[in-house]
């Protein structure tokens, strides 16, 4: 470790997380109960941890109480990120079609208003064809209130309701930090505290399982057929077998927190509150972040600056 500073008594490497641009979108799924909204969201965001091998990155942002949801039913906000507008659109369409349209009682609403979005994706407008000609266009607010368009698609259970357009914007992926601890238990506990704090920040998600990635990866591999392999410099088990190990003395476990957000400011804030929460747990000895010396993405999110923002 090079230059470092202390926060809550824990060494923080003065480095940055290297983020890159993606297109992001927010959907609001409602259902007859919170249970069914959550089931739909969990299914929708499955197998969407990293674009290394998934079609998109997706996760649950937060549950939405009935009094805040568009139709007065329990809801849940999910965010989906794709490498391009087209890929994002395709992922949303496929995932909605297979995981939400099929889920009992659900309805889908746009969670990114047009004034905040860089583009409006024709999601409902495309999925309507599933109605096989019996879909019904629903109009609201023409000429007197906020104009909205929906599609009502007949399904075996009753009707599936979806907003015609879903907002998307240029977003930031790859915000991260590594929690390093003396034991696996302490590292996991600290990382859980970080995730809990991050979920209080609007506009960000943590797409890995439970928000945590235990097998951070590096680009390339000894094996030519692999695009990515285990992040050897940060594997404590081989720290003395590797010349360029970055594991400080006393560290025996590392977990990575990966954050995607609708803008750099939100990701920075999430990094800050996450690091702050993690460093309050005994047994955490170091925090650092992963970057590729500026070769991967245009966003350089400093740990020091992120902590300054909380």
């Amino acid at each position: 470790m090079e230059v470092s500073f202390k926060h809550n008594g824990v060494e923080i490497e003065d480095t940055f997380a290297e983020g890159f641009g993606m297109w992001g979108s927010r959907l609001i799924i409602t259902a007859v109960t919170q249970k069914w909204a959550n089931i739909a969201a969990t299914s929708l965001t499955g197998y969407a941890t990293s674009v290394i091998a998934c079609d998109c990155e997706a996760a649950i942002e937060r549950e939405i109480p009935p009094e805040e949801s568009p139709d007065g039913r329990p809801g849940i906000a999910v965010m989906i990120y794709g490498f391009s507008r087209g890929k994002l659109s395709a992922s949303i369409l496929n995932r909605l079609g297979q995981c939400v349209l099929t889920c009992p009682s659900t309805a889908v609403f746009n969670g990114l208003p047009e004034e905040e979005a860089d583009a409006m994706l024709d999601i409902g407008k495309s999925i309507r064809f599933f109605g096989d000609g019996f879909q019904v266009k629903m109009r609201m607010g023409d000429g007197w209130h906020q104009r909205k368009r929906f599609w009502r698609i007949p399904v075996m259970e009753g009707e599936f309701l979806i907003e015609e357009k879903i907002g998307a914007k240029k977003a930031v992926a790859g915000g991260n930090f590594l929690v390093m601890g003396a034991t696996e238990e302490a590292t996991l506990k600290a990382s859980e505290a970080a995730i809990e704090a991050i979920h209080e920040v609007p506009g960000v998600v943590t797409p890995f399982p439970g928000g945590l990635c235990r097998s951070g990866s590096k680009v390339g591999s000894t094996y030519a057929f692999l695009r990515a392999s285990t992040n050897t410099p940060f594997c404590p088990a081989i720290k003395h077998s590797l010349k360029d190990s970055k594991i400080p003395e006393g560290v025996n476990s590392v977990l990575e927190v990966v954050i995607n957000g609708l803008d750099e400011e939100s990701v920075m804030k999430a990094m800050g509150v996450g690091v702050d929460a993690a460093t309050k747990v005994p047994g955490v000895t170091w925090i650092t972040a992963v970057n590729f010396e500026g070769k991967l993405g245009k966003f350089q999110m400093s740990l020091k600056e992120s902590l300054g923002g909380i």
Partner: protein, 280 residues
Amino acid sequence: MRKLVLKPKGFSKIPIEAEVISPDIIGGKTLPEVKALSVQYGNKVHSLSEFFDVGGRIAKTPDEQDIVVDGDASHVKYIGKGMTTGRIVVQGDAGMHTGSQMKGGSITVTGNIADWTGAEMKGGLLRVLGDAGNLLGAAYRGSSDGMTGGCIVVNGSVGSEVASFMRRGMIVVLGDTGPFTGVHMNGGEIFVFGKVGRRAGAQAKGNGGFIACFGGIDELLPTYRYDTTFTPTFMRLYLRQLAGNLGIDVATSYIDKPMRRYRGDLAVGGNAEILVAEKA
């Protein structure tokens, strides 16, 4: 908002055609100019001040103009015709064609209102606290486009041919409707909390248009076919909008109430919907 008050000088059996009572026309003028505005009385042209006491303040722009017609204006036609912004309040009854072809702003009538109110309306909000006559929000004869936007709310009951040839927008009636509600409708939403008159939705083509009947319906045309009884999620959005944006609290009592769905008018190959709330 600047408030201009027009007090009718009395009732006339011959109607006055006063489309000049509009924020678009009055806003930006001086008081003498407003007094001199032309109105049609029979086959003669008169000035506005011959029929109204004119007082109050005039805004520089129409969107800041508030017009109050203080008294019975049931003999005054075309109030707010084609208006795009501002506000008109009629404290009493209003005559035919009030708010016809209006595009924006709001009109509130505290009494009753005559035929052709909101005819061919394109936008804005029109509220009637009493009853309305026939052809509310309808298309003028010979036209195939009725309402194409905006919202009309009537607290009382309305006459026949409500929303004929309706294409977009919303009509809410808290009382009963007369015959031929939504005749020829091709889009738009009609909510009736009283009883819907006979032959509703005749010749309706659909295009997402529906008539929601919360207080029952006199009879259904045989050219409407029963599909199902369900609790549509989309209806929650409308009912919440009625309560939240228009203050129609009774709407929330129908959330999640089962509705019978009928589709027609099959006589014209239509797919409009008549949704009838199940009795409690």
